[in-house]
Amino acid sequence: MSRADLAAQARTGAPIFAALGDETRLRLVTKLASGEPWSIVRLTEGEVMSRQAITKHLSVLADAGLVRGVRRGRERLWALEPSPLEAARRYLELVSERWDGALARLAAIVEVDDE
């Protein structure tokens, strides 16, 4: 890794650690680590803070690229941002599965003639 790469990594890494250096935000990330997106109502449950305060904490996490707001219908949900590499890996798995399915159907079509 070049010095420029390391510098870039440190720049992108620093806000992540700063964002996680807070008990409330760490708790929010832990909740979202279950994988599914959560609503603000659900994220605020069990917290002493107001929804507005929790939303502010979520904004800090979003700015660091750790979470993102997603829209499901009329509802705004919060989800953990998967790491870019993890996202890439899972995406290829998905495309790979699609091809497995397509090739199985292709085989079923062309092989039936011979039988």
Binding site: P82, E97, W99, D100, G101, L103, A104, I109, E111
Partner: protein, 155 residues
Amino acid sequence: MTTTKMETTTDRIEKQRVLRAAPARVWRALSDRREFGSWFGVELRDDFVPGATVLGTMTYQGKQLAFTFLIERMEPERALSFRWHPFAIDQAVDYASEPTTLVELVLAPAPEGTLLTVTESGFDQIPVVRRAKAFEMNSHGWAEQMNNIARHVEG
């Protein structure tokens, strides 16, 4: 961009499958839009011709989604290639400005029939956010579809 750039594992998928059918039969399943549509899971409006833009619709979770296939190479019984926007399932997004992936289907005679090699490449150019979203939107849909296919071919 350099020509010596190595392709990373996140950029391409390669699949091989031996089909118990002659290359001529497999070619028909690849080049005929109706046959292609039935195994690829898409309804195509136009015939495959090199250089053609072929429009099609896929049914995904009960919704009709528009797809575009850009046909590149057609060498009878040897190779078919096209470009498309993989998982362009978010109808709110205009994918036209985004990079496409290249799908290459290569046929070779094999003792049992035909060896089909499928490669899809160019994924590294697809924005990470889109890749993550595609996964999110598809994980349930595809798991379901895999079960359907298994039932279909085994039943």
